[in-house]
Symmetry: C4
Subunit: 280 residues, 4 copies
């Protein structure tokens, strides 16, 4: 098990080429937010946008359109019940994030199936929150492309079959190999499992123990994997920055709210983009 | 009668244990906000969230979903007319706050009855605003658990039967003993009555004399009793910080708005968490 | 014609008595905001709230409830089509502001009639925007109480019958005497006409020449006349501070937005409340 | 090809005359924002308002009213399906901006036709986004008045028939002459084509490569051409400031969000209004 280092983050978040446009930085669709959990998809979309995603589209229950636009006019919206329109838009996406505030009813189940069927390489897929609960309920074929799951420990238990008390790095890595997807297991010390290696995140604070933190991380990962080629490093960098920002904010705050993290992402990314990492 | 001291606050707001998660810090449901008074439940939920509550759910009239999510995506929402769903969610809550913007119509009356019946120890209950007016209208059995009421002087008159001019500490304490619940009587100098003792709050400013201040205090108390074991000290600390923040803001402002207090809660909690109280 | 002085403002905005509550600082109802001009009543209500009004209720088209609450949870709302509920609430108000974004259709006309009939001394009345256009269309009896009108020059032309080019202080004062209400005539240099005197406002900047400035002033006047006994001085102080804040903001801004003024009101009121005016 | 200079900007953004009112600074209507792209018209209207437009009206799908007003109460709204009301309002406008988030369905097509027919000199017209895609689909008569189009390279390809790789200054200028409208071709280095000359914008940063940047520029141009007589210089100044602000924000941010640019416009305009340009 090795730590995520600032060197990885600096190597990943490179200076943007001068001659680029919004398409260069990823078309990201976020799917989630039912009539009760609309805030989750708002927080995820906010994180993706502030992470530098070129174009952000939110597929959600229409009840969430107005509250989303009231704070994030930068995102586009669509009704996630409109399957045909969704499929058409999905085809043009670089990244799909599904799960924040999705819930586990039949609409949610149907959406997950649609996404798992429609997604094709080189599209990248982030599965979070309720999508993981649904995934654990019955086995489904996963598309052959870059996939990352972002469970907290209970969701990981459902997904991997490993009880929380038995979630050792070795057991988790074995499960990750079986599942064949990158796994970010969120805990006091978050660990990341790839086919090659086990990483742990050195940062994190109990000030982050509040609703919406996971949605924010999922959105950040969506934004990062849409911009940075190396899938693993993009994920590791998002995990690192998410808690590094929270650690700094927690130096003066008892609790850190998710939207406060998102607001800081552009400054932290800039800082790392200015550092020249040692040759690797 | 003795003052709430900074020593109590420092002793209550302890550093968070590193190995904790959002469930550690309380599942808080706030119930209120009809079609006219939606702002009250928004302010209460904002205060609870910024107080560090782990998970905040707002049961309200659906007309308030969007305005709530537009400023507080961190909270989940539900339609308070859906009694079955409400009962199901209530069962998993650590704290229930009912009253801000609830109104006094039959829907409100029904909701209060539902909550009083469904709540069981060790769940904690905060009764505020319209819930107190309803409570004063006809006698109801209160659940045998930690309960705090937060009346202003007129609501206290209705609840205790003591006219405002006769609300002396002794008379109030007698009434509190009869009612068997902790009572926070909001006034120029707020007093707190527990089974053991009478406290007064040293802070407070007329700059707080504006709509929504009470809703904010109710939300703070909800957040604090969801995190800190000692029920009395959690309440005293919320009362103290609520006015301490206002006092500081009033040093440069003629009127202090409720949302400005909520925004400062995490910083003030952090400050007190860093202080080592004298051994007691 | 004499200038509004800082001495008047300091004398008006007194330190709040320690033993006071929100009822002490005025129950203010603002009526306006149709389906097209909802922003106007939002800006007026924001100004009233930040001016320190104890309790603010907005009677408006329901389409504006959510956008209002999304930025001003401190205000209560009601559907202005519900005449009976409106009349009931009106009876308990200290101040009524009617006009911002009201429009001039039959609903608006009806609302103005209702207000003019229902208002009684010592309630105070602020007539602004569309309410003045309606007032100019046909003569109506005004209630015998403190009334202030806040026309810009074209509205004043309609109301007084004096063409803009002929709006000299003397002509305006004559018209004010005929109308029997205090008149704030908004222009490059705003002038205020009372039964006794003609005042001019020394401040003001072309950076204020943007939509919503008048709505903000109407809300400030509503907040001030709800708190300060001397009707004329309350109005003069609101007029003075409104432009004094704008002048300061314009030192670094080409255009000043209405909400930026409202955000500063509590600080400016505090500053003047700290000054001891010379004995008068 | 010559650079847009600070001298042009200083010459254009003059100090406002003391004796002016909101009508002096332009009545600007922005048309766009369907049920999926409402954020675009919000961002454009925000930019127009912060650019100092005297009065801003947004004609959009009603689904966008609330999210717009929640962040920009300064704007008025209307349902863009109401053709008669739209035509009536259009007649009184100084500037019409059509396109941000408009989409390309029949409603959008109809709106563009209505605007092109109804607009008359000296009204000024800004055609952006979807309006340009529609314009490229079949030829339409353009009104004989000041018109500016603001395509990105792909939209310019559709409009001019020049493939992106062939979009040289000379080819673009030839196309502009054929079209007879001022053209702002947005790219890594934005170029502006007028009947007389070809300009290039010296600023710009890849931190701007995010959704909504173009909508913001369209709104700024709308605000500027409503205030400043020289049509070309107003456009050049908007193009210059839009990227100058972004460049400054990008000194500390990896990505710059559109609303962050709008928030800075009044300060930058003020700065340029204070400089006395050399005699020209």
């Amino acid at each position: 098990m090795q730590p995520i280092t600032t060197e990885i983050v600096s190597r990943t978040i490179i200076k943007r080429p001068a001659d680029s446009y919004k398409g260069t930085y990823g078309r990201v669709m976020l799917i989630g937010g039912n009539q009760n959990f609309g805030g989750a998809i708002i927080m995820a979309a906010t994180a993706a946008t502030y992470s530098g995603a070129g174009l952000v589209t939110v597929a959600t229950d229409p009840t969430n359109f107005t509250s989303l636009h009231a704070q994030l006019p930068e995102a586009m919206v669509m009704d996630y019940h409109q399957t045909d329109a969704l499929l058409q838009l999905l085809a043009g996406m670089d990244v799909i994030v599904i799960g924040p505030g999705l819930g586990t009813d039949t609409v949610a189940d149907q959406l997950l199936s649609t996404v798992l069927t429609a997604t094709h390489a080189p599209q990248r897929l982030v599965l979070d929150g309720s999508a993981l609960t649904l995934l654990a309920q019955h086995s489904r074929a996963l598309p052959a492309t870059d996939i990352v799951v972002t469970p907290h420990q209970m969701e990981w238990q459902r997904l991997s079959g490993i009880a929380i008390k038995d979630q050792t790095p070795t057991a988790n890595h074995d499960a990750q190999q079986r599942l064949g997807v990158t796994a970010v297991v969120k805990a006091h010390r978050t660990t990341v499992y790839t086919n090659e290696r086990v990483w742990f995140n050195p940062g994190g604070t109990p000030a982050m123990a509040t609703g919406g933190m996971g949605d924010t991380l999922a959105g950040m990962i969506g934004g990062f994997v849409g911009q940075f080629d190396n899938f693993t490093n993009a994920i590791l960098s998002a995990v690192y920055l998410h808690s590094a920002i929270a650690d700094d904010l927690a130096a003066t705050r008892y609790v850190v709210l998710p939207h406060q993290i998102s607001a800081q992402i552009p400054r932290y990314m800039h800082r790392f983009s200015q550092e020249t990492p040692a040759e690797s």
